[in-house]
């Protein structure tokens, strides 16, 4: 099989993580490295303790070897997430989050909890945020129609989660409308014939 069945309808979370790992993040290197040409571009030079910007996967790689500290992105802290959560629970619309926040937060919490301030608190805030947003996603199912459904501020991981069900549900709605239209057509044809 060219593509395993499990990959046909949706991307998998590890694949989304792979994509998110291309984003840049700041690190404080603990080792020196010359500027190096990568296919994605040139990164470095690393000169401790000067901050450098590298792709997330590289930061993770260095972190696992204890060769750098990762600087948390400005949205991954208790204060910012608390504000988002308040907004999320107070409003009906989705609050704005970085498109791939779930993936990045997970990677950082797994690999570099010691570089974050109160990781446990962050973890529980993220969980609350996720639950609040998930509930809104489910409510969103009610407004699904055959036309177009706008889902602003939804994030990559959330889309991936609701994709199979939403696509299936929408296909069925479209089909029902199509059949209805056909029935109407046939009815009117029958009328003129008789």
């Amino acid at each position: 099989m060219a593509l395993p069945t499990s990959l046909r309808t949706s991307a998998t979370p590890p694949e989304l993580e792979l994509i998110a790992s291309q984003q840049l993040i700041e690190i404080v290197p603990l080792i020196a490295m010359e500027k190096t040409a990568f296919i994605l571009g040139a990164y470095g030079p690393l000169r401790p303790p000067i901050k450098a910007s590298v792709p997330l996967w590289m930061a993770v790689n260095l972190k696992l070897k204890k060769k750098c500290h990762i600087i948390a992105p400005p949205w991954l802290n208790v204060e910012f997430l608390q504000n988002r959560l308040n907004e999320e629970t107070g409003n009906k619309v989705f609050s704005k989050m970085p498109f791939r926040f779930a993936e990045i937060a997970k990677i950082l919490l797994d690999v570099a909890p010691d570089d974050l301030e109160s990781p446990d608190k962050i973890r529980s805030l993220l969980k609350d945020l996720r639950e609040a947003r998930q509930a809104k996603c489910r409510d969103g199912l009610a407004v699904l129609d055959r036309g177009e459904t706008s889902l602003s501020n939804l994030c990559a991981m959330e889309i991936n989660e609701i994709r199979p069900f939403f696509i299936h549900a929408k296909s069925i709605i479209t089909q029902l409308y199509r059949e209805e239209a056909q029935d109407l057509q046939e009815d009117s044809q029958g009328m003129t014939m008789s």
């Binding site: 990959l7 792979l18 020196a32 990568f38 602003s152 939804l154």
Partner: protein, 273 residues
């Protein structure tokens, strides 16, 4: 393309040359010239891609935080976008021949450089680290490339019979993909014929009947299937079948039938997520 030239003059290869031809003492000077070159390297190539969502509520301070890392859309970003588009799209998208061959070129060159550096016994710990990182990147890109090609292959096999009879679809494939589609369709036909069809009455033997009230026997892409669309720029207005229309601003996400988003996707105004 500029990027190519810059890459060819890229530092990793430079290092190899330096190491083999020059003494290590003049490395300092060459690395400073390198620096100048590489800043242009990161400067060009495509528009910035926004990672945050431009939604209704906008607070400048929050926006600033959300747009903290805007990566330039380099080759790999493009490949990733095409990969995800292909995965979510019910139809087969136009082949990205040039992009693929240029990336494969990069991979080959990086691997050669790594081989050369590895062959030297004198490599320092720092060199080891760089080699490891470069290799990691190569592996990551290879993964995406493979997954992209496999996705296309899957669709090509699924729609093989449809492709054989549809020139518009053939135009979207590379020559080797088209060749594969033809062979695959022929092989399955022969197989069905030998195993079952030859013993059926003649009127039941065809594999491409289009009966009146049932779907066609040839599997075709379902263009009505809904897809999640993410606008990359401000898009022209789209008209839907039911008479409504929609203009998407940058960052807008919407669930709509693929047929409605097809034109925008081919123009590169939207991506599928």
């Amino acid at each position: 393309m500029d990027w190519e030239a810059e890459f060819q003059a890229g530092t990793l290869l430079n290092n190899v040359n330096e190491k083999t031809s020059r003494s290590t003492t003049d490395r300092g000077t060459s690395s400073s010239t390198r620096h100048g070159r590489s800043t242009t390297l990161l400067g060009d190539d495509e528009d910035d891609r926004d990672v945050s969502m431009a939604g209704p509520s906008s607070d400048p301070a929050v926006d600033e935080i959300l747009e903290w890392n805007i990566a330039e859309e380099a080759h790999l970003e493009k490949l990733t976008r095409h990969w995800m588009n292909e995965r979510h799209c019910p139809d087969i998208l136009p082949a990205e021949d040039e992009l693929l061959s240029s990336l494969l070129d990069h991979i080959r060159r990086q691997s050669e450089a790594v081989q050369l550096l590895r062959g030297e016994l004198s490599t320092s710990e720092e060199e080891h680290l760089r080699i490891m990182l470069v290799q990691t990147e190569v592996e990551r890109i290879k993964f995406v490339l493979r997954s992209y090609i496999r996705t296309r292959l899957w669709k090509i096999e699924k729609y093989a019979r449809h492709i054989v009879g549809n020139e518009e679809m053939q135009a979207r494939l590379t020559t080797s993909e088209l060749e594969h589609a033809r062979r695959f369709a022929k092989l399955t036909d022969q197989h069905f014929h030998h195993s079952v069809l030859q013993s059926l009455p003649e009127m039941r033997v065809d594999l491409d009947d289009e009966p009146m009230l049932a779907p066609s026997m040839v599997t075709q892409p379902d263009l009505k299937r809904p897809v999640f669309v993410h606008a990359l720029t401000t898009c022209p207005i789209i008209q839907f079948e039911d008479g409504t229309s929609l203009q998407m601003n940058k960052g807008h996400i919407s669930l709509m039938a693929y047929a409605a988003a097809e034109k925008l996707l081919l123009r590169g105004d939207v991506e599928l997520v």
